[in-house]
Symmetry: C2
Subunit: 300 residues, 2 copies
């Protein structure tokens, strides 16, 4: 694995939780030739520095961003929206600013207003995660064999050399960039990520009802899988729901409609059609998945 | 690991799919001192014999059961119900007949009528499974570190030496016996197993809707987990739904009610209470899980 020579020489990562911390560790693992500045609350940023994830620690976002040619906003969606103006003011005109927020419409729309001149903004969303958040769960290999969504403000932004350099950097940490419009991203993720989370939390929540008095020792592999996401905290999801409530309501209503039909067909062989459709979806989904990481593609 | 000296000397396993095949392989792995007779369609039973899972292969259940002191009915629930009379007629008066069906009320109720004299019936349900069925997916270690439900016809049956010998055999293949009333089993499993399956199939089924045109490459770890059970076939679940429709309707309605509330609270911090409840349930569930298999407990 060769060291990572990027067009970027100074990367500011604002927020050093699971995703920001993993970005920092991934750059270090790939022997990124530039400097990595991590910005977080003083004690958190210092810890990232001590763990060797960064070259500099900052607690003021404007100071962290100054002189950086790549800025990665790795914060919850609400905090990204709050930080967009100050980052725009502080970032060098030649810098690329990107984010890692789980919804893209609100962020890209706000960036469209703010980033008319100066730094270029490119929306981002790594499709990698864990139920556990925080720098202590960060992993330099988190992005390997995952997809990394890029949602530009304007389609032509993708041809900008900075945007191309960032796509290369995404590949260098093992991920595959996927370009998708912010609206389409949020609609699709409502079905593919946000609804699965809501379902898992709903299932675990009803199983906790004391009047049911369920013997939980009888919950085996299927129950484990279907409630794993329920380990996630509301604080991780709040902003996702706030900025994608319309799409998630449609997705939830679609699911409730399907569940209602299936509930009324428990003693009806027509239920077989839903199982067949679900099995077909799984085959389609599997064929859309990435294979094991390709070492050649990771070189850069 | 010492060889398995059981009170049983001849075990007839009727049905050599995932569960029956795993029972046969588990007994062979534990060097069971008695003989194992596998009964299935001629070519399937022969294959189990060729794979070393059994000492004898039969295609006629009555013939397979004759002379056995333990009979394990490892068939779908509907087929178990069909076979109960002929097995009762063919089994030796001193035999124990048990089953592996995923619902217990209908089977135990039918056994209560039939097994008034002669062989003793003890309902069973190993909480071990895979999405893939059939002997080709059978595994001699399938039951290790899992729970094995026993639902007696009459509570006092559990004190019968044959029932005690079967509990020891269950332990010898690595599982922990759990005694539970058939009604309570079916009510609990509606929430802990049957509803999770219905949810997974419903989620995968709506994602297959062509008018949604979802970019499935954006479905990541959460989507994978929540649709894994959707690989299961309707044929595996049909009898479960038919014999537990009442409980599963209650469970599904409870979930739909919760989802509806959560859908209406996507922009309301009261949603936090459901996440907290779900996280608490996960902690409770984890503390109810078995630890890694205890080698001492497996000796027999």
């Amino acid at each position: 694995m060769s060291s990572l020579n990027s067009a970027f020489s100074r990367v500011a990562i604002v927020g050093s939780g699971l995703i920001g911390g993993s970005w920092a560790l991934a750059l270090k693992r790939r022997e990124f030739a530039g400097r990595v500045v991590v910005c977080d609350r003083a004690e958190v940023a210092r810890r990232a520095l001590e763990m060797g994830a960064a070259d500099e620690a900052e607690s003021d976002p404007a100071a962290a961003v100054r002189g950086a040619d790549l800025v990665i906003l790795a914060l919850p969606v609400g905090a990204i929206l709050e930080h967009l103006p100050v980052i725009h003011s502080a970032a060098a005109p030649g810098a690329l600013v990107t984010d890692t927020g789980s919804t893209k419409r609100a962020i890209v729309a706000r960036a469209r207003e703010l980033y008319r001149d100066g730094a270029l903004f490119l929306g981002g969303h790594p499709l990698a995660g864990r139920e556990q958040s925080g720098f202590e769960n960060a992993d330099g290999g988190l992005f390997e064999a995952t997809r990394y969504v890029l949602s530009p403000v304007r389609e032509e932004d993708l041809d900008n050399p900075r945007a191309k350099a960032f796509q290369s950097m995404v590949r260098s940490v093992g991920a595959e960039p996927v370009t998708i419009d912010a609206d389409e991203h949020d609609r699709a993720l409502a079905f593919l990520s946000h609804l699965p989370q809501l379902l898992s939390t709903a299932l675990a929540s009803i199983a906790d009802e004391t009047q049911l008095a369920l013997p939980l020792e009888l919950g085996a592999g299927g129950f484990r899988d279907m409630t794993r996401l329920a380990d996630s905290s509301y604080s991780v999801w709040r902003d996702v729901f706030l900025t994608n409530a319309d799409n998630l309501k449609v997705a939830t209503d679609t699911l409730i409609g399907k569940l209602t039909t299936m509930r009324n067909r428990l003693e009806d062989v027509r239920l077989a059609a839903d199982f067949e459709r679900a099995q077909r979806l799984r085959r389609r989904w599997r064929s859309a998945q990435l294979q094991a990481p390709d070492q050649d593609a990771m070189e850069f």
